[in-house]
């Protein structure tokens, strides 16, 4: 198991008449009891660990507290209580200067509505975090150029945000958040404001980027399909409470609460279980049919066209890391 990069312990965000009671006293209280005390809890007793290099998705419908939680994690909102440990350092005790330093060097964030600065060009927007840190002009332009190319916007450097489509704008947002090479990458519903087709494309793009960058990611979404498609682990939130935090397979196969079960009941197994879970050691050197290691069983089934008996599994570098035979796949799919 890899190391934990960010963890939060018993984090609360409570609204109500000042002074608020210490959150220790609120543990175990339900919504009615909180309301009776004149309090509204946007985040309630949230604890989770985000491990180095994983995509951690926080999924919840609107009003579930997911946006508040992610803003507590980056301390854009001051939590009412709890601990937020980034590499073992409690962010809630860090002073303003330390917080600025941590955000400048170690964090990046992508926003739902892009939050691009309208008066800056694409290149200037991407270079903006570097500029703020006082990086010298040439160096930051070179770095920004690299990022713009990474997200496939070469040639649009001198465009202004309003001259770009939604998908392109969010690519700028992604490039900007990556410009400082953050260790921890927050994405707050990055694809929610996009059309469904573009959204799908951007998800693929995102997975491609992550395949080479291997960032530690906290990804917020209200879209359950998006969550199981992208996540290494998912935390499902409802009314400020984390209902369950587990791998997509775990969530689908063993939902912890009736609420989670409602999301999972119509999701076919084949779309959740990844080929890496059922693949065996590759026996051949090369395979005609191949699927990426992160694809699910349904995608593997598509690759197994009539007459093909076995499909190879490739990792991000293109090397074969496993194979799946038709019988094994059928057995797995039928089991669900």
């Amino acid at each position: 198991m890899s190391d934990v990069l960010l963890s939060c312990r018993k984090v609360w965000k409570v609204f109500g008449p000042q002074p608020l009671p210490p959150t220790r006293e609120l543990e175990g209280l339900g919504t009615e009891e909180l309301t009776a005390r004149g309090l509204v809890a946007a985040v309630r007793d949230a604890s989770l660990d985000v491990r180095e290099g994983e995509i951690f998705v926080i999924m919840g419908l609107s009003g579930s507290g997911k946006s508040t939680l992610v803003r507590c994690l980056s301390r854009l909102i001051e939590p009412s209580g709890g601990e937020i440990l980034f590499r073992g350092e409690d962010l809630l005790t860090a002073d303003t200067r330390r917080m600025i330093e941590i955000r400048r060097k170690h964090m990046g964030m992508v926003f739902q509505n892009f939050a691009l600065l309208p008066h800056l060009t694409v290149l200037e927007n991407v270079a903006f975090p570097l500029d703020i840190q006082g990086m010298e002009r040439k160096a930051r332009a070179a770095r920004a150029q690299q990022m713009v190319e990474l997200v496939g916007l070469k040639g649009k450097e001198s465009f202004y945000p309003r001259q770009l489509s939604g998908g392109q704008q969010q690519r700028v947002g992604i490039a900007r958040s990556l410009a400082v090479e953050p260790d921890l990458w927050f994405l707050d519903e990055p694809f929610s404001a996009l059309d469904p087709l573009i959204r799908r494309e951007m998800q693929d793009e995102f997975l491609r980027l992550q395949g080479s960058l291997k960032k530690t990611i906290v990804f917020i979404t209200h879209d359950f399909d998006e969550a199981i498609r992208l996540a290494d682990r998912i935390a499902v939130m409802k009314d400020g409470v984390i209902e369950q935090a587990a791998s997509p397979e775990e969530i689908i196969l063993r939902p912890a609460t009736p609420y989670v079960a409602k999301f999972t009941e119509n999701v076919p197994r084949a779309k959740v279980i990844r080929v890496e879970k059922i693949m065996v050691k590759p026996k051949a050197k090369s395979y005609a049919a191949r699927v990426p290691v992160r694809s699910n069983l349904a995608e593997a089934a598509k690759a197994l066209k009539p007459g093909v008996a076995v499909v190879g599994v490739v990792d991000a570098s293109g090397a074969f890391v496993g194979e799946i035979r038709r019988e094994a796949l059928t057995a797995q799919i039928m089991a669900g």
Binding site: R103, M109, N113, L117, P118, D131, I132, Q133, S158
Partner: protein, 661 residues
């Protein structure tokens, strides 16, 4: 329904107070004289207080390191220095020596150079069309021999507008950063917007003396509040995500403000710049009373001499200047608010063709001035004077239509103005205090009741009651007339696309004109007096009545109109039962604006011999009597505030009742 009983109590109170006040009114002066004429013994000596305070301020006030007088001198210097430079450049040339012994060492920019530079600016901001328009406007100024005065006015604006913009942004940012500061400054801004413009002039005159510097200071004070508001609104309108972005990339507080928030609010800030320029023009014209010079001074002297020809010419020049400044500043705002094409990798000249060309024209003009001084002045032969023509026209109208005009004037005077005036004069002040307080309670609860009651009482207690009644009578009549004209025009224009476009063009133009200009034509036809004032006020105040009616009607949900039609309602029923009913809150707000416009114009009409609070301020101005000016000015502001809050309360109740709030 918890609100219903409270509302009923308000209604009962109001009815009871109203009946009591009416009873008092009919009982008449004989029974309780002190209720009608505010007793001298109870008077609050506010005038003396203000006067004494200002005397202390000027003579003795000391802030440790410096005196108040030194502070005002410093501020005056701050304004004076750039003004001298701009004025020298545009009008007087750079002089060596003092007074009549002065020798011109560098001549000012000649008319053609200024015209070309302005046209270049127009071309940069709005393309060829705007360049042509700008050229035409400046040629007009030159051809009608208004050049020198126009340049003096322009110089004041070129100094006041940038200073007002920068000051407004800084104060707006301060309001945003420190909510406490905002809470302190908000009532001051409210008061400044309702204070009649003349009232600003009095203290400025006393503190800064007579002259262009004082005029620019007054202009700054007048033009800055909207910029503060626009800045604050713009900053508050920046989306939350942009704030989060600033935090996430690790901006310091200063970086967040100046690198993220202010640039992100740039578009709304540019709207504010346009407003500052137009308000500056308006005020610079009015400030001719404390020595601004320029076109305003020409109009003022013409008014005093009743020289209509000269007045109309200067008036037209002001209109032209207003139009060109409005178009140029709007185009520049759009240009700067929008992204510009990338200019990377091009030379300086290629990047700034307009700026370079303008600089070249300026240098060439100065050099030519030494070689061929003939080119300096606009050729006399090509200039036109319409002054005599207009004087003749006026004379002709007066000769041929005197009876008709006079009949119209007398009819309105005898049947509307005089009775209304008489009626208001008999109102007991204590009854007015009680009724307005009760109305405030009915419309907005006890806070509004206390506010309305106190302010009206203060008007009486400072000895302004009679003059306030004249103000109310003139303003009230004008508002009624403006509404009677404006609402029908709005109803007609609301669903006739082409008519509305025409009306809009007219009222947009009317709104850019400095209020001074309105006086000229009416004075010519009706000479001085209340009636003249009334016409000028109605012409000025009808704009918001039309605008808000149209906006309100156009905002009505089309599905409701469809529903009405489906039910078989006639067009008249749809208009009266659905559209006007739903547009009522907006029309009320329009009426509110109409009152504000009417009050601001009313004060200007002091120049044509009204006897109201405006006249009081005007007299105070000529006597440099701060106490008198401030107290009368505050009385006007109080009238404005009371009517504003009461109508806003009524509109809010209407809105809530319709479920639109």
């Amino acid at each position: 329904m918890a609100a219903a009983p409270a509302r009923n109590i308000g209604n009962w109170w109001f009815a009871a107070v109203l009946i009591a006040a009416l009873a008092l009114w009919f009982a008449g002066k004989g029974t309780v004289p002190w209720a009608f004429d505010y007793p001298k013994a109870w008077m609050i000596p506010a005038m003396q207080w203000v006067g004494g305070f200002s005397k202390w301020l000027v003579d003795q006030a000391h802030f440790g390191l410096f005196t108040f007088k030194e502070l005002t001198r410093f501020l005056a210097g701050l304004v004076d220095f750039p003004y001298r430079i701009v004025l020298s450049l545009l009008a007087t040339g750079f002089l060596e020596g003092q007074g009549s012994a002065a020798v011109q060492i560098v001549p000012p920019l000649p008319w053609w150079a200024v015209t070309i530079i302005a046209a270049l600016f127009g071309h940069w901001a709005g393309g060829r069309k705007l360049a042509l328009f700008t050229t035409a406007c400046f040629l007009f100024l030159a051809a009608f021999r208004q050049w020198d005065s126009a340049m003096v006015t322009l110089a004041s604006i070129l100094v006041a507008a940038p200073l007002g913009t920068i000051g407004g942004i800084l104060l707006g940012v301060a309001c945003y950063r420190w909510p406490l500061f905002q809470r302190l400054i908000a009532p001051v801004l409210d008061l400044m917007q309702t204070m009649p413009v003349f009232a600003y002039l009095v203290p400025v005159l006393v503190l800064f003396g007579f002259g262009p510097t004082a005029a620019i200071v007054a202009t700054l004070i007048f033009a800055m509040p909207p910029m503060i508001r626009v800045t604050l609104l713009g900053l508050k309108g920046v989306p939350g995500e942009i704030h989060d972005l600033a935090a996430m990339v690790g901006c310091t507080q200063a970086q967040t403000m100046w690198r993220v928030l202010v640039p992100a609010a740039r578009q709304s800030l540019m709207v504010g710049v346009n407003q500052v320029i137009m308000l500056s023009l308006n005020m610079v014209i009015i400030a001719s009373m404390i020595g601004a010079g320029g076109l305003g001074f020409d109009v003022l002297t013409a008014l005093r001499r009743l020289d209509f020809g000269a007045g109309i010419e200067a008036g037209f020049a002001i209109v032209v200047l207003a139009l060109v400044l409005d178009r140029l500043s709007q185009a520049a705002a759009d240009k700067l608010g929008a992204p510009q094409a990338s200019t990377e990798g091009r030379s300086f000249v290629q990047r700034h063709p307009h700026g370079v060309a303008a600089a070249a024209v300026a240098v060439m003009a100065i050099l030519l001035a030494y070689m061929a001084p003939v080119l300096q002045a606009y050729p006399q032969a090509l200039s036109v004077s319409t002054g005599a023509f207009f004087s003749d026209v006026v004379a002709w109208i007066n000769v041929n239509y005197f009876d008709a005009l006079e009949g119209f004037k007398n009819f309105i005077l005898l049947n509307i103005l005089v009775p209304a005036k008489r009626l208001l004069f008999t109102v007991p002040w204590i009854g007015a205090v009680a009724v307005l307080a009760a109305l405030g309670f009915k419309l907005g609860g006890w806070r509004l009741a206390v506010l309305a009651g106190t302010l009206v009482f203060l008007i009486a207690a400072t000895g302004q009651w009679e003059k306030a009644m004249i103000t109310v009578y003139l303003c009230g009549t004008a508002v009624v007339l403006a509404t009677l004209i404006g609402v029908p025009v709005g109803v007609l224009a609301a669903d006739r696309e082409r008519l509305w476009r025409g009306v809009q063009a007219v009222i947009d133009t009317l709104q850019t004109l400095p209020s001074f200009v309105y006086l000229m034509p009416v004075v010519m036809l009706f000479r001085v007096g209340d009636f003249t004032a009334l016409i000028a006020i109605v012409a000025f105040a009808v704009v918001p009545a039309i605008r808000y009616t149209v906006l309100g009607l156009q905002k009505v949900d089309p599905s409701l109109i469809e529903a009405g039609r489906a039910m078989g309602a006639t067009p008249w029923q749809i208009l009266s039962r659905i559209r006007l009913r739903l547009a009522l809150p907006d029309i009320l707000l329009g009426m509110n604006q109409t009152i504000m416009f009417a009050l601001s114009m009313l004060v200007i009409t002091a120049l044509v011999g009204t006897r109201d609070l405006g006249q009081e301020v005007y007299i105070a101005l000529t006597k440099a009597d701060i106490g008198r000016g401030i107290v009368a000015g505050l009385a006007v502001a109080f009238i404005a505030i009371v009517s504003d809050r009461l109508i806003a309360g009524a509109a809010a109740r209407q809105k809530a009742g319709l479920g639109l709030a």
